[in-house]
């Protein structure tokens, strides 16, 4: 199994898609609740697997284009089939996943194995009948959106109009129409005239969940820009600029790196947005630009280890974050296969571990704690014992229920609320 690089629930939560480093997409489907086992709500089983992207070679630059799936975003369901967008560094593909569980039998002009019958041999007419068959799930690429990004695509986001979507790379954001593959509109371009003046890149972008003219993009300098597409064709001048003033007492050579935003997500309500930087998660009110309304420390104990983390490149890890369905809780990952959840109302937080060794299936997860002081209590783990290779970068929360999906390197964990 390959390293999972993205996890995403669809709009109903019935399907869960994962993309991996090998360019594969695996879709899980939730079982219908059965009366036999009332204690376990539907479990997720593999529904479909397909190869979305293949490795390519850019002959002009003599460089490989990785097939790793950077992001998957589901499209709202419009008919019996499901559709999703999946992207690697350069190309976005729209996949249609459809299932068949019936087939027609008794054609007049065709044999059972598909060979055409000689018309003269047909002596009587019959009506074909539909017979059940084993469920077959097919995934087919319906659109390929290519050649619009010079730099690595880091985000895609479906617009609320269900007709357009945006894709963002390090320096540009493009707007596409889902039906049109040979053209896209460039709506943000932060490439300087002289590349030597480049000091800031785009790290993430997302469409507003309700206002189809609004989107945000975050940068490596810890800023977020909200843009209105009605203002101009090229949204280089933002409508709103979100940045928290730096705390001068904690300034170091690493200040900029740890302020770089790795993920930005609107709340379901559309009133807030959440950003993830290296050490914290911040919730912003869209009406207040000068500072976030809430800040949650994910792993503050790493602040004194920044130089080591710079040395081993961990400081560049891009963690994602997500809201729950009601926007009352947020979740993000950390190291040592730990992930953190914060309740916005009670201000309580919890650290949990996604690991087979440390928890039995269906057992309730135990809260974990990292000891920061000198004395290490029993069951606590010290900062130096943390495994920085076990990082949880990708997490997803079911849109309606308390079911979460956590990707720990090449394993996918699905946790749900304990039912009383």
């Amino acid at each position: 199994a390959d390293i999972i690089s993205t996890v995403e629930f669809n709009y109903s939560g019935e399907l869960l898609a994962t993309g991996d480093k090998g360019g594969r997409v695996v879709i899980f489907q939730r079982e219908q609740e059965s009366k036999n086992r009332p204690h376990s709500r539907g479990e997720y089983n593999v529904y479909s697997t397909f190869q979305s992207h293949e490795p390519e070679f850019d002959y002009l630059k003599s460089l490989e284009i990785e097939e790793k799936i950077n992001k998957i975003r589901w499209l709202p369901q419009q008919n019996a089939a499901h559709s999703l967008l999946s992207t690697n560094d350069k190309t976005i593909k729209l996949w249609k996943i459809s299932q068949r569980d019936k087939r027609a039998e008794g054609y007049n002009l065709k044999d059972e194995d598909g060979r055409l019958r000689d018309p003269f041999r047909v002596t009587s007419l019959r009506v074909p009948v539909l017979l059940p068959m084993d469920l077959m799930v097919e995934a087919s690429p319906r659109r390929i959106f290519a050649n619009a990004h010079t730099y690595h695509i880091n985000s895609i986001s479906v617009n609320s109009d269900h007709e357009t979507y945006l894709s963002a790379d390090d320096l540009r954001v493009n707007l596409w129409h889902l039906e049109i593959t040979d053209r896209s509109f460039n709506i943000v371009d932060i490439k300087p005239a002289n590349m030597e003046e480049l000091t800031e890149v785009i790290t993430a972008a997302e469409c507003h969940p309700h206002q189809c003219n609004v989107f945000v993009y975050s940068s490596s300098k810890g800023t977020i820009r909200l843009c209105d597409m009605r203002a101009a064709a090229l949204c280089d001048r933002q409508s709103k600029f979100f940045e928290e003033p730096e705390d001068p007492s904690s300034r170091s050579f690493f200040s900029e790196i740890i302020s770089s935003i790795s993920d930005v997500k609107f709340s379901h309500s559309g009133r807030y947005m959440m950003t993830r930087d290296y050490l914290s998660v911040k919730v912003w009110d869209l009406n207040m630009e000068n500072r976030p309304v809430e800040t949650y420390q994910v792993h503050e104990y790493l602040r004194s280890k920044l130089c080591s983390l710079y040395e081993n490149d961990c400081i560049f890890d891009k963690f994602e974050c997500c809201w729950n369905g009601s926007d009352s809780a947020i979740m993000t990952g950390s190291y040592n296969n730990f992930f953190r959840m914060f309740d916005r109302n009670t201000r309580r937080d919890i650290t949990l571990e996604a690991s087979r060794e440390n928890s039995k299936p269906r057992a309730i997860l135990k809260a974990r704690k990292v000891s920061t002081g000198g004395k290490r209590k029993k069951d606590e783990i010290s900062v130096d014992s943390l495994d920085f290779n076990k990082k949880i970068l990708h997490t997803a929360w079911h849109p309606k229920e308390n079911v979460i999906a956590v990707a720990a390197t090449n394993n996918l964990y699905i946790f749900q609320d304990k039912i009383n």
Binding site: E64, D89, M195, E256, I257, S260, S304, C307, S308, Y310
Partner: protein, 269 residues
Amino acid sequence: MFPKGTKRKFSDSGDEPAAGDEDVNQPSSVAVRMLSSYSLQRQSLLDMSLIKLQLCHMLVEPNLCRSVLIANTVRQIQEEMTQDGTWQIMTQALSAANAAAQCSADRLVATEVLCRQTEGGVTMSTVSPQAPTSYLPGTFGMDPCWEEENGEDEEEDEDSEECGSGSEEGDSDRLVEDSRTAEQVFGTFEIKNPAPSPDPALEELFSDVDASYYDLDTVLTGMQSAPKMGPYDLLESLSSHGPSPLSSSTSCRSDLNELDHIMEIIVGS
């Protein structure tokens, strides 16, 4: 000097020197020690960053975000070092060592990232305040007019080193020039493209080819089409002090020429 051999760990948790046994009546010595410890830490951070920029993934395009963040860190360190004058001390020490020894890999740590040859005749030049010079690194494809200028500059450099280092006036002048040239060296990697083809058809053909990204790549991440030495050679030679068998003596010779040229730009003679 770049720390040789012993790997100094950047003390993460702001270690303070044990003041317990120290004579409390000499706070200045403690302060001095803390300051030099900070300088050492800063220096090792600079080295680490430069190495990170050099080590490149030859096959896959490197991460632009990471490269930009590391480059910003390097600029930050360099600005701070320029402000408190340690930049000049470091470059003086470098040029002194350069005059003394042959092909030491340590100096190549800083200079390698400054000069890299790229494909297709695209070069990276550092602009000195006195004479805008187009600098073509590498053992091949050397512009003859550059070589002439280099010859002149080399002589000038040696002269100034021999008689100029003592005078205060000279030092202060050099300090001012240093901050400017250092700024240019790190702050503005001037990437010179070949003269654009006037042919509109050709331009159209290449209109969506973004060559500048590739240039920035080579600068920020040290990608090179024909490496003089691989990243692992560099690391090996960093840990061993002696002259390492990098390449043939001829390319070593031209490396020295490049080094001389860069040194005189940095030192600002």
